[in-house]
């Protein structure tokens, strides 16, 4: 059973940017893409553990800042590299607030 945890107001996530969420020892990153969609994934690139929160956002994709791996935010899967992925988290938005399923 997952719990919906209230995280942040949607307008506090910059467009085409991200916010980092610290949950215990884990880091989750919330992205807002150009079309306004919200995504949440584990803040770790499966390649060399780069912080995806620092990456460049394009379409529904983020490019890891360390070695330019593209990660699909819809699935958490690395583009052209089906075997690597980072964990994806469910999100929902209610009254302008983003909730994360933890």
């Amino acid at each position: 059973m997952s719990n919906w945890i209230k995280i942040i107001e949607i307008e506090d996530v910059p467009l085409m940017g991200s916010r980092k969420v610290v949950v215990g020892d884990d880091e989750i990153v919330i992205f807002k893409t150009k079309d306004g969609s919200i995504f949440a994934v584990n803040n770790v690139c499966p390649h060399k553990q780069g912080k995806l929160s620092e990456g460049l956002v394009h379409d529904h994709m983020v490019t890891c800042p360390l070695h330019n791996w593209d990660i699909d935010l819809e699935t958490g899967i690395v583009k052209d590299e089906d075997n690597s992925c980072t964990k994806k988290y469910e999100t929902k938005i209610e009254e302008g607030v983003i909730y994360l399923a933890l």
């Binding site: 940017g17 991200s18 969420v21 949950v23 620092e54 800042p65 933890l102």
Partner: protein
Amino acid sequence: MSQSNEIKQDLIVIGNGMSGLRTIEDLFDITKDKYNITIFGDEPHYNYNRIMLSYLLSGEKTFEDTIINHKTWYDEHNITLHKGDKVIAIDKLEKTVTSQSGKVLTYDKLLIATGSNSFIPKTKGSELKNVIGFRTKLDSDTILELISKDKTAVVVGGGLLGLEAAYGIAMHGIKTILVHRSGSIMSQQLDSTGGQLLQKNLETYGIEFKLNTTIEEISGVDVVENVSFTDGTSVESNIVVFATGIVPNTELANSATLDINKGIVVNDHLQTSDENIFAIGECAEHGGNTYGLVAPLYEQAKYCAKKLADVESDGYSGSTLSTRLKISGVDLFSAGDYMGDETTEELILLDEKVGVYKKLIIYDDKIIGIVLYGDTADASWYLKLLKEQTNISDLRTKILFGKSALSGDSGHGGDDVSAIADDEEICGCNGVTKGCVVNAIKEHDLKTLAEVKTCTKAGASCGSCLGVVEQILVDTLGDEYNDTVEGICDCCDVGHKEIKKCVDTNDFTNVYDVFKKLNWKTEDGCIKCRPAVNYYLLVKYNDDKYKNDKRSLLVNDRVFANIQKDGTYSVVPRIWGGLTSAKELKDMADIAVKYDVPTVKFTGGQRLDMLGVKKEQLEPMWKDLNDAGFVSGQAYAKGLRTVKTCVGNQWCRFGTQDSMQMGINLEKLTWGSWMPHKFKIAVSGCPRNCAEATIKDIGVIGVDSGWEISVAGNGGIKVRVTDFFIKVATDEELYEYVKAFTQFYREDAYYLERTAHWVERVGIQYVKDALIHDEPRRKAYALGFEESQKHAQVDPWEESRKDGFTKEFSPIVIDTKNLPGYEAKEI
């Protein structure tokens, strides 16, 4: 001059091989309208590259790879090709040819390019089946069909072709014996030392050599079964390949009663004893010589084509032969009189362990012969010295170490092709010079290796020079090389040049409009294109009219700090000119202590790097630094990083100028504006150059009478020493040149192109022409830079704290105590 209205003449070519077809191609370069062309070829193929037969045999290339003229080429040029049909008679009075299939065609001009046949010396058993030569696709196919692991293949003849055949067979793991009549292999092209080195190398491929040996007898019922040698041994074998030479194929010409000697006798315009009949290639004899290598044949083709097109020329005057062995992993080159005699001298360099052997035969202070083994990098240079009969007496102590050893200039490392003179030949097969290639690239806007090959023929034959050709292409095009071929990234099909042009000629307010205009395949672009387009907009409009799009910046440029492998950042405040004070150091130390900075390091750019700073610490740390009077050092920026200085005449007893103060002035002048890539300056107070100015984007060196400016240095992967730019007498002139050069670079270079790469792409002369010889232009660029600086010289640390950008740096911390799935962790 148009001949399209005239009635075309009929040109018939007998032989569908390399020299005949090259003549036609050369003819087309002059005129396409003069002839209706018909070609007869007895092989059932389109024109293929016979030189590649050894690669075909070894399996390193497919037959398709070796085709020079595809069906489309014949079609495009309306050439009638009768392949697999042999011409059996020429009637020079009636001007007709008759083919095996019964065709009788008339000609106005006839070109005989029948090549040669393998010469198989009379040997006991040589009439048996599976005793073959090595000349054609069919020969190669036959060999591939027959060889088998439990039988030995025998190759006769230790010349170029024999070795290539043996290599091709041995590559299939077949036991191969090579018999050679004399005591060292390739005795036509190599002296015995070179021959032994080569033999040793080839033995590692599994070829067994029998020197001073010939075949005693080939025995078998119908086919080869056993081969015995003159050394008394014998071997069970099923194939004997003779590579013992070629005989010009003159049969047809002979029956047509043309003058024949060793080959069909031709004059300097490749005409036979009948002026309407030409002969070219291996079947022809010019000046008493017949040729079996491709380079001379192609030279002949040029003159033959001119005559056919009625263009006047001096005519063909014979060729200097040079040879390259086409065996992968073996570098061998020889040319001219490589043996010498008692009147000649030899310069020799021999390193048997490494496998390098170079020998130059000198007569009367000129090179007359060359043998290179193991290191053929300077082959074209030596060949040029030989052909031009250059007096080498001044070079002789260094000449064997190669061209690069002469200048003593290792600064421009790696770029061997830039050292090649324009008139130096790079493709020996086709006689193409570097200048030809460079001009073709520029004139015909060539972008790919394939285009260069098609247009210039460089690398189109044996292919051993393709690496050099590609390097020239890369050098000539610079970054455009890859970019334009495929677009700067997967999102688009356009190169930097086209994007810049589009930005320059249209108005845009954001990167996405540019994407739309240029038909991007993605909505948002990617890590490669978005920062580039953002930069081009920024440099066009300056910071006041275009808002730098933070979301289109690489991480470091966006957060004004350098990301490290663990996701923390490094913080580098600006230390103007590398000069600091006890107070500044104390302030910085206090701040480093306050934020518990794990690593503090001096950088190569004379400042302090505080590494391991967490993202959420950046804002308060910047505030403390700002309060202490520091601004961002922009160690992350595609823009000015540092101005490195030496002590200069304030303290140094050798100093001629105040380099420290000049460094501070230049840093204050140039920091701020975004550039295509990072940018570094250094100022040395005297030519001892302690600030290492000659590997910076701009290097300034003080001399008694002023400043020497040099540009486009680089200390990275490939060290590049700056090019000297200009010497100025006053500080004001120095400032103007620095501003103008910087702005010209900002506007002209491609995104992520350092000054070194930019200058290598466009040439230093281009930059000098714009800035030194054109004063109004220089002043305009200097002014343009000042304009940009007005809005760019804003401390990004202070600005981003004040405009609220740093708010997003702080993490959202979820209290795990309230999360049933998460256990509270003890600290």
